[in-house]
């Protein structure tokens, strides 16, 4: 359980930093958005990966698509921007996950 919580915290922090790179205002709102978005996508993605369909990249793509809509809804940005934010955030977390799984 602790490793799941660890991945959740790391993902929230990384995606918060990515949000800050794109939207340079209201950091508390961005942090809340990162918590809410990752509280939906990460447990569901992990559950699907562990118990139904262990394809890391395909699940990442699904999460990326869902987050486009969640980012747009929560942060009231255009689709173009939410697309780029979601892409950058998920590339960053996927890269971290990959590096972490190799060195750990």
């Amino acid at each position: 359980m602790y490793n799941l919580l660890f991945y959740w915290i790391i993902t929230v922090i990384i995606e918060f930093l990515v949000l800050c790179l794109f939207i340079k205002k209201e950091p508390s709102k961005l942090f809340l958005a990162s918590i809410l978005i990752n509280s939906v996508t990460l447990p569901l993605a992990t559950f699907i990966y562990l118990f139904f369909y262990p394809n890391f990249v395909l699940i990442e793509v699904a999460v990326f698509l869902v987050e486009i809509f969640l980012v747009r809804l929560l942060l009231e940005v255009e689709y173009k921007e939410s697309f780029l934010i979601s892409l950058a955030a998920n590339l960053a977390t996927a890269l971290f996950g990959l590096i972490f799984s190799i060195i750990w």
């Binding site: 919580l5 809410l36 509280s39 562990l50 990326f64 969640l70 799984s101 190799i102």
Partner: protein, 211 residues
């Protein structure tokens, strides 16, 4: 952003998705190691012997007592019983690895066990609450160079503190663990957390629209 650019990116991501994601020498994402530990439960019944663990690639030799012991996950080990007076005379700590191996496997005064021990039970899904597995060994007899040891039972330990004991029916077959159901914190993480987050998102959007 032009639509065909979005299409190109999605196409590339789908191509990537179709590729395998396995990595050599790395535990698969979502997997964890479950190590074996061992314990000789009646070692005190043989006070005239020194019990030694020796394996490939290691340990070269390790003295055993009634405590639990474990070793490198890829090693395969055996147990040897050396009469106390022989152990004192041969001075294992002055031998190199080859000499130790030679002594333990060829000296007629050394009793060798009939079983080999593995360092790793295996890998399981990270959501599996299984943490480790302890095999309890029982010495049946020491006669000449034959050390008769049997696997008595295996105790599976879970991350919620629970343990499950299973006796060995056959020496060549490890009894399967009967995993307890997932603990409450898994339900919180996989079900309650996403529902609460979705409710909060819904609430934020509704409040924004009402304003």
């Amino acid at each position: 952003m032009r639509l065909y650019n979005v299409g190109r990116i999605l196409f590339l991501l789908l191509i990537l998705a179709s590729l395998g994601t396995s990595w050599a020498d790395v535990i698969e994402p979502g997997e964890k190691n479950v190590p074996f530990t061992y314990q000789i439960i009646n070692i005190q019944d043989y006070p005239d012997y020194v019990f030694i663990l020796h394996g490939t690639p290691n340990p070269s030799y390790e003295l055993l007592n009634s405590s639990e012991f474990s070793f490198y996950k890829l090693s395969v080990c055996s147990i040897y019983a050396v009469p106390d007076e022989v152990f004192k005379s041969v001075k294992l700590d002055e031998m190199n690895d080859t000499q130790i191996d030679e002594f333990l496997n060829n000296d007629s005064r050394v009793a060798r066990s009939n079983i080999s021990l593995d360092g790793l039970y295996g890998t399981v899904n990270v959501a599996n609450p299984l943490e480790s597995a302890l095999i309890q060994l029982k010495i049946n007899s020491i006669q000449g160079d034959n050390l008769d040891i049997q696997k008595e039972k295996i105790i599976y330990y879970y991350n919620n503190g629970q343990k499950v004991e299973k006796p060995f029916q056959s020496q060549n077959q490890i009894p399967e663990p009967t995993a307890p159901g997932p603990s409450w914190d898994y339900y919180v993480y996989f079900i309650v957390l996403p529902i609460l987050a979705l409710a909060a998102i819904f609430y934020i959007i509704m409040r924004r629209r009402s304003n």
